[in-house]
């Protein structure tokens, strides 16, 4: 079995240096739409292209509600006045809700996470799983998955909440000791995505549980989810989930 030890050592260190430095490898994130200045007329047409109403026309351009974006890229492609698209570096996009405050010092270096899939397409769940691969290796930051709610500090929810998963989610949440936090990951968990609201799916987990940190994306990049966890731990500042054109203008 020594071949495995040698193989492991030969592979070297793959882990990203994020959050100490930024991560710029290509292909780590699908990016997100940016509030873009444009004529009111064009903004109307652009908003009509969005299947989930993530784009909202404003006076001087288009606002973006990241919680609803499903990465269909319809606004970013196609000739007439495509909107801006933040490429990969903009993965730090997790926001806090009115409930959210971080745990405090005790939890900064050891947080146990219970993942509950309440009915997603599998992509969000797969990106959550990637956090344990050597590239992201969340253990180095003190984050651990746990299979039992009794050991969990954070409930990480992916997926549009289906009727069938309401009871298991409630039971899991109730079984967790306090203090506890809820992190909702992905457009479906934040707003229902393209699934909800419907006869089976809710319009977001927030209707059912008080969510503290929201990670937008469909699916969010592993680093975006990691950023969400760092926000819970109080080790990174949150980002705005609603990007207004006026604010972008003001900064520019």
């Amino acid at each position: 079995m020594s071949q495995w030890v040698i193989k492991g050592l030969r592979s070297g260190i793959k882990s990203t240096r994020y959050p100490r430095t930024s991560e710029t490898a290509p292909g780590i994130s699908p990016g997100l739409p940016v509030a873009t200045p444009m004529s009111a007329e064009l903004a109307q047409a652009m908003a009509a292209r969005c299947p989930t109403a993530a784009l909202e026309p404003a006076r001087t351009g288009i606002d973006v509600n990241l919680r609803r974006c499903v990465h269909c890229f319809r606004c970013a492609r196609g000739g007439d006045g495509a909107i801006g698209w933040e490429r990969e570096r903009d993965f730090e996009c997790a926001g806090v809700t009115s409930h959210g405050d971080n745990f405090g010092r005790v939890f900064t270096r050891s947080i146990h996470i219970l993942v509950v899939d309440t009915g997603d397409c599998g992509a969000c769940l797969n990106e959550v799983k990637q956090l344990n691969n050597p590239y992201y290796n969340m253990h180095r930051l003190g984050f651990f998955f746990t299979p039992t709610p009794r050991h969990a500090d954070v409930l990480l929810v992916v997926g549009a909440l289906t009727e069938h998963m309401r009871l298991p989610l409630r039971k899991a949440y109730d079984a967790m000791p306090t203090p506890k936090r809820v992190v909702a990951v992905g457009a479906c968990a934040l707003s229902g995505g393209i699934f909800g609201p419907s006869f089976m799916c809710a319009g977001g987990v927030g209707d059912f549980l008080a969510v503290d940190v929201e990670v937008p994306g469909n699916p969010p990049a592993p680093l975006a989810i990691l950023h969400g966890l760092l926000v819970v731990a109080g080790r990174k500042p949150p980002a705005p989930l609603y990007r207004r054109i006026e604010e972008v203008d003001g900064q520019g």
Binding site: M1, Q3, W4, V5, K7, G8, S11, K14, A25, P26, G27, P30, G31, P51, H71, F73, R74, E88, V115, V116, D117, T118, G119, D120, C121, G122, A123, C124, L125, N126, E127, K129, Q130, N132, N133, P134, Y135, F145, T146, P147, P149, G159, T162, E163, H164, R166, L167, P168, A172, I194, F195, P197, S198, F199, M200, C201, A202, N218, P219, A221
Partner: protein, 528 residues
């Protein structure tokens, strides 16, 4: 149509004189249909299955002015047969086909649950898609009269409800697992029944992630249903959106530019490669061989990054559109990606060689979770799982699309049907995918990637792909203005979850997670 299929069609006329109305589907779809009355349905289906070597593919039900039931069969080598029966709108009973063809079992259970049709003679109807502890009887969401856009006045879940037990021996007990279990897992519940060491019955209870996709597609524009197709299973998004695109393109006779076909093949294989690498990582992890699991996980992440850098999305969302692709890819970028894929493939071969000499690893896989060839056929298993049991059908070969007939590749097949055979098939198919990617990158022709004038017209058509998990069938019926009237999705995981218990039963508890990993099943793809 192939002469063998025409022969079956001719024989049907004499074998079922006066009882069956045979016909040929238009458009050179390599399909024929046999229309029969409901009482003849099981026998006609069984004639194809037992005497003519056809395999069951899926059941498509439509509620139009009358009920239309369509049992789809794969031809012995290629081609399709549809056995169609019509029922008056007021009729709700039809004889069960699954008494004779077990592969239809879950299809009929699903239809009973969602449409309220009764399949007479079916041994086990009831709690399936709609969980009986949450839903009242009499809710039939797939009926046209049901409004799928809003929540049903729900009731409090019945906490006393228990799934049916099968083992009745003295001392038998059931170990419940899920729907929330292990580290980061999709929601599924297992009732593992035992009298001691071995799992005697392993009944999965699925559909926790049932999102009613077939229902919410109805009434939407076809373009928006494409978004749903991508999210049937996020890890097979490109395959499913491709199946829907091909259904719509064949229905509306939309020509796909050659460049788009090549790129579609390129991306579909990239997805298959990543899917198989993830399956290999899962198998290594289930046996607690953590270095190997990490090595495979490294490769999976690299393939995700290759996909992301090439198309903008790590799971290839937003690429397929009716008539081609939404965005062109640069030839250089494709060649660069292919070079990276070749490199990944080389490291995968090294991993395979190391695994094949790790005896403690092989001990956990060899002769564990066996599925015989006859069981695989009876349960209608598909994809790599079926090919590991000697059922070698691959729609890329049997029913080529996207120009798969123009590239060279092998369809690996093993005969043992155990966990190790499935692992070997995953490795070999991954190598073939890499090979196709490398070849395609050199051969992608110049030109546009999208037909500009894609006009949707009413009608229905079947689209198919060999998704990473196996054959996927998409049936789409469009009405006026490109609005979807019916969208039926038959997924590989649905077929393979049905057969999963064959492998899990009569093995020890500690083998269960390993057998589960070797099936590489997607809960989301099954539940829809």
């Amino acid at each position: 149509m192939a002469p063998e299929l025409l022969q079956v069609l001719e024989d049907a006329k004499t074998r079922w004189t006066g009882k069956v109305k045979p016909g040929v589907d238009g458009g050179g779809a390599a399909a024929f249909h046999l229309e029969c009355e409901a009482p003849e349905l099981p026998d006609v289906c069984n004639w194809l299955f037992a005497e003519r070597g056809f395999s069951f593919g899926g059941l498509i039900i439509e509620q139009r002015t009358r009920w239309e039931l369509r049992y789809v069969f794969y031809g012995p080598d290629s081609g399709w047969a549809h056995v169609v029966t019509f029922l008056p709108a007021t009729e709700g009973r039809v004889p069960s086909v699954s008494r004779l063809i077990h592969a239809a079992d879950w299809h009929e259970r699903e239809a009973e649950d969602l449409f309220g049709l009764v399949f007479e003679g079916h041994p086990r109807l009831g709690d399936f898609v709609l969980h009986n502890d949450v839903w009242q009887e009499g809710i039939e969401p797939m009926r046209k009269s049901f409004d799928g856009s809003r929540a049903v006045a729900s009731r409090e879940p019945d906490l006393t409800w228990k799934p049916r037990r099968i083992v009745e021996e003295a001392g038998a007990f059931a170990m419940p697992v899920g729907p929330v279990y292990s580290a980061a897992t999709a929601p599924v519940h297992f009732q593992l029944e035992t009298v001691g060491e071995d799992v005697i019955r392993a009944q999965p209870r699925l559909f926790w992630a049932y999102r009613g996709l077939e229902k919410i597609a109805e009434g939407r524009k076809a373009d928006d249903v494409l978004l749903i197709a991508e999210r049937i299973s996020g890890t097979s998004a490109f395959a499913h959106s491709l199946a829907l695109c091909q259904a719509v393109e064949s229905l509306c006779q939309i020509e796909v530019p050659r460049r788009a076909s090549w790129l579609r093949m390129f991306l579909a294989e990239l997805e298959r490669l990543r899917h198989h690498v993830a399956a290999i990582a899962g198998i290594c992890e289930s046996t607690a061989l953590s270095v190997a699991a990490a090595q495979a996980a490294i490769l999976e992440e690299e393939l995700l990054r290759i996909s992301g850098a090439l198309t903008g999305h790590r799971y290839l969302f937003g690429m397929n559109v009716f008539g081609g692709l939404a965005a062109d890819l640069e030839d250089n970028a494709c060649r660069h990606a292919a070079a990276q894929v070749a490199q990944v493939s080389g490291r995968l071969a090294t991993l395979q060689a190391m695994l094949s000499t790790s005896s403690s690893f092989l001990d956990r896989l060899e002769n564990v979770g066996n599925v015989s060839a006859s069981n695989a056929r009876d349960f209608g298993l598909v994809g790599p799982i079926a090919r590991a049991s000697g059922v070698s059908r691959d729609l890329r070969r049997a029913q080529p699309y996207c120009g798969y007939e123009r590239v060279e590749f092998q369809v690996p097949s093993e005969s043992e049907g155990d966990g190790y055979a499935r692992l070997r098939v995953f490795f070999q198919e991954a190598a073939q995918s890499a090979r196709i990617i490398v070849e395609a990158a050199e051969r992608i022709p110049a030109g546009r990637v999208r037909t500009p004038e894609a006009v949707l017209r009413p009608g229905a058509a079947l689209g198919w792909v060999e998704a990473p998990g196996g054959a996927a069938l998409h049936w789409i019926r469009l009405g006026d203005g490109g609005v979807v009237e019916r969208y039926r999705i038959v997924t590989p995981s649905f077929a393979n979850w049905h057969g999963f218990r064959l492998a899990a039963e009569d093995f020890a508890f500690q083998d269960f997670p390993i057998i589960l990993a070797t099936f590489a099943l997607s809960v989301h793809e099954n539940d829809r």
